[in-house]
């Protein structure tokens, strides 16, 4: 197929060519960025919590008298533990995807000079790391002696804690974290174990806190830690267990109110946590589909117009020996050239758009491989859209050449 005659013909329709190319360019820019945003939403939704989500549920009670905390904890742990199918009940301050329960700024020194960010703390009663299913990668799990009674405030003065691998690396890059200490205010933490993963409660991508910036502090339940419970059950029975638990609580703890919004299985809490991301993804998919649809319609419209306009020329070409395939390929080549021109412009636009988005929405850099992918998508779209009009052109009989007008 010769390209030169196609180019010469396009020069005669500069305006229309430019319009379609511009449309393709805008579509390319929006498409690349929208697909990229979808991909980053999807990867955000893959957040690893580090706990056995499918076996876990969370219960939050409110409205009870803090003075009765000890008694309430004992009643709930015993009462829920008696429900058939429950493997463990532990007092814990919160769970991944649960309510935000405690973020503390930490420093490497007691004087509070070497600030190292604001991790989230998990506080749990004996057996909590095991019930969560945390995977130890170094050191040891807290033993019975590590679970201290908190006499004043929220934390023990000195605790032996677990940190995640990511947070240990953040505090002491390249060093062994075991045995090292860090502080929050006057409370000292000593690392006795490093766990593979344990995600924060409410991860905010735009915040300064990493998804795995967490510390597990072993404590005994008491007035500072009451009313929030971790329930572990077989994954197949979890939903039933949580329903039973909520009914049972009316009898076990008539003095407290169940927070129905927060009390749910971890899979349900996770789903709810990512609802907005899913909604955004759906909306972006909608935009992409309509975008491609409108662009294809534009190509069909303009190509049909050109075919109608050139009926006579096509007839003449057919009369002097062009095959149907030649005509078909002519329109396909024409479309390919216009789309290529649009894509070239669109790649530039995509980068400008991405730069703007990066500036205002702290989006990461658009990876280069999105551009050829976007280009291929638009080439395919263009070829599909032009196929109908081009086939119609190929069906123009040579006899048209002999007719006037």
């Amino acid at each position: 197929m010769q390209i030169k005659p196609v180019l010469v013909a396009l020069k005669k329709h500069r305006l229309a060519t430019l319009l379609i190319a511009l449309e393709i360019a805008l579509a390319c820019a929006v498409l690349c960025n929208a697909v990229f945003m979808i991909a980053s939403r999807l990867s955000a939704m893959q957040l690893v919590s580090g706990v056995d989500e499918s076996s876990l549920g969370f219960i939050q009670l409110g409205g009870f008298d803090p003075k009765s905390a000890h008694d309430l904890n004992a009643r709930v742990v015993a009462g829920l533990g008696a429900i058939p199918g429950v493997q463990a009940v532990r007092v814990i301050n919160s769970v991944p995807f649960g309510p935000a329960a405690g973020a503390f700024g930490v420093t490497l020194d007691q004087a509070g000079k070497q600030f190292r960010g604001v991790p989230e703390l998990y506080l749990g009663a004996p057996g909590t790391p095991e019930a969560l299913g945390l995977k130890l990668v170094a050191g040891r799990m807290p033993g019975a002696e590590d679970y201290q009674t908190v006499l004043e405030g929220y934390l023990p003065a000195n605790s032996n804690v677990l940190v995640t691998r990511v947070f240990a690396e953040h505090l002491w890059p390249g060093e062994d974290a075991l045995g090292k200490t860090f502080w929050t205010g006057r409370n000292q933490f000593r690392v006795i174990g490093v766990v593979a993963q344990l995600s924060v409660q409410q991860y905010d991508e735009e915040g300064e806190r990493g998804a795995q910036w967490t510390v597990f502090v072993p404590v005994q339940p008491g007035p500072q830690l009451a009313g929030t419970y971790l329930v572990r059950a077989d994954p197949r029975e979890l939903d039933r267990v949580m329903v039973d638990a909520r009914t049972a609580l009316a009898k076990i703890a008539p003095d407290a109110v169940v927070d129905h919004q927060q009390s749910d299985t971890l899979p349900a809490l996770r789903t709810r946590f990512f609802q907005a991301d899913r909604a955004l993804t759906g909306m972006l998919v909608g935009v992409i589909v309509s975008l491609l649809g409108v662009t294809a319609l534009g190509i069909v419209g303009l190509a049909s117009f050109w075919v109608a306009q050139r009926r006579k020329q096509i007839g003449i070409r057919r009369a002097i020996g062009a095959t149907r395939g030649d005509i078909l390929r002519y329109f396909q080549t024409e479309n390919f050239l216009i789309v290529t021109f649009g894509i070239a412009l669109g790649m530039l636009l995509a980068f400008v758009l991405n730069a703007l988005l990066m500036k205002f929405y702290e989006l990461p850099h658009l990876p280069l491989y999105y551009l050829p992918l976007g280009a291929i998508a638009l080439w395919v779209l263009g070829q599909l859209a032009v196929l109908g009009p081009a086939l119609r052109a190929a069906r123009v009989p040579p006899v048209v050449a002999t007719r006037t007008a």
Partner: protein
């Protein structure tokens, strides 16, 4: 003349229904998505208290001790109890109140415990935010000082507890204590809830309001952001190194606002001289719209969607330009005849624009339907603002203005080309 052009336009549009439908659909899709996202933006960035938003100021300050101060850190939004009480004592503003959110359990008429959202604040809260009262009235400043066991409840809670009857004088049982109801709110909900953005930005007003002093006295639980600089046995104690109280002031004139700014600077300077910290410290007051802007109440997702939708409208318009161009130039012969019979270029241009305008209006109507559909989808989204998204008259008018303007814009270039058709050439080639 306009009527004639309209008639011509309709005839022309009817002649090629598929092309017309494509154009109308393209504009409608562009308008539909743009209007959906613009409406969300409009609602979210709206002024919750238009009559007073320039006179209400959120006060925030940085009085962190030196070991917690880092240059370039964000200014904390909340105050310590010590600072809030100092500002309240001075009472330099027309109205002022420190406040915090909380939650408590009350027992309903059926004997069921209800968890209700509460606000602990001062007597000034009600006149400051123009809160309407259905029954009774707000507590008085003396009640704040006396830690009086009083409460104001919302109309909703009054409905649930007392069947909507005047409940002033009745009591509310809270954790063994009883609070005397002094007032019942009329319909009042601020969306966004600008005075406290940390506990759900959209939704109904709190159900129980009581004096902050009373809540502290009864040790009722508070909710919301709490940051402490050191360990404190009781983070709500008068001298606890914790920031957790929201502070609002009403300053009715710019002169008063300037004076108050000076007062805050002096206050900070005094704190520094008093040895609380050695860095310069910072105090500022933001009016309602500045405050909402600083807190980014319009989610970045929504802004992003708006830009995407406008980009999409751009693509739809380019598409329409191309189709209109094809349509007009296809009629070169017809235009040639009209020109030969004496129609001026201006007349051809106007005729083409009328046709584009008709397409735009049709696209606007269909786009409005699509936007309504889009808003239904938005209302089903799991966001706290979903329930408040609706289209008002101004957005309705904007839809048509946008549709008409964009289709006329799209028609300009094709109409320009159409009017330049040379009659002789057009007639000859036919």
């Amino acid at each position: 003349m306009f009527g004639y052009y309209l008639d011509l336009a309709l005839r022309s549009l009817k002649r090629n229904r598929v092309l017309t439908a494509l154009m109308v659909l393209a504009i409608a899709l562009g308008i539909g998505t743009s209007m959906t996202t613009l409406t969300v933006m409009h609602v979210l960035s709206g002024d919750p208290i238009p009559q007073k938003s320039a006179q209400l100021f959120r006060v925030r300050m940085d009085v962190s001790p030196d070991d917690h101060f880092r240059q370039g850190d964000k200014v904390p939004d909340n105050l310590t109890r010590r600072d809030a009480e100092a500002l309240l004592r001075d009472g330099k503003a027309d109205h002022q109140a420190a406040m915090s959110a909380g939650a408590m359990v009350v027992v309903s008429a059926q004997g069921e415990p209800l968890r209700v959202a509460t606000r602990y604040t001062g007597a000034d809260f009600f006149p400051m935010f123009d809160v309407p009262m259905r029954y009774g009235q707000a507590w008085r400043p003396e009640d704040d000082a006396a830690r009086a066991r009083v409460a104001v409840i919302s109309g909703d809670l009054n409905e649930q507890l007392f069947g909507g009857k005047d409940s002033v004088g009745k009591t509310l049982q809270v954790g063994g204590q009883s609070l005397r109801i002094v007032g019942v709110l009329g319909d009042w909900a601020m969306n966004p809830r600008f005075y406290d953005l940390s506990n759900g930005q959209f939704g109904n007003s709190e159900q129980v309001f009581l004096p902050l002093s009373t809540a502290l006295d009864l040790k009722l639980s508070t909710s919301g952001s709490l940051t402490c600089w050191g360990s404190a046995p009781d983070s709500r104690a008068p001298e606890a190194p914790c920031i957790w109280l929201q502070y609002w002031a009403e300053l009715d004139t710019p002169a008063k606002a300037a004076a108050y700014r000076q007062y805050l600077q002096n206050y900070i300077a005094l704190q520094q001289q008093g040895g609380r910290f050695s860095h310069p410290g910072l105090a500022e007051e933001l009016d309602v719209m500045q405050w909402l802007d600083a807190k980014g109440v319009v989610p970045s997702d929504v802004r992003l969607q708006t830009w995407l939708a406008l980009g999409f409208l751009g693509i739809c318009l380019l598409n329409t330009v191309g189709l209109l161009l094809a349509k007009f130039l296809r009629r070169s012969g017809e235009i040639g005849v009209r020109r030969a019979l004496g129609a001026s270029r201006r007349a051809i241009f106007l005729q083409c624009l009328v046709e584009a305008g008709v397409v735009g209006l049709a696209g606007g109507v269909l786009g409005l339907a699509l936007a309504a559909l889009g808003l239904v989808l938005v209302r089903h989204q799991p966001t706290d603002y979903a329930a408040y998204i609706h289209m008002d008259l101004s957005m309705l008018l904007l839809t048509f203005a946008l549709a008409l303007a964009s289709s006329l814009l799209a028609g300009l270039l094709p109409a320009w080309r159409a009017m330049q058709v040379a009659p002789a050439v057009a007639l000859k080639s036919n």
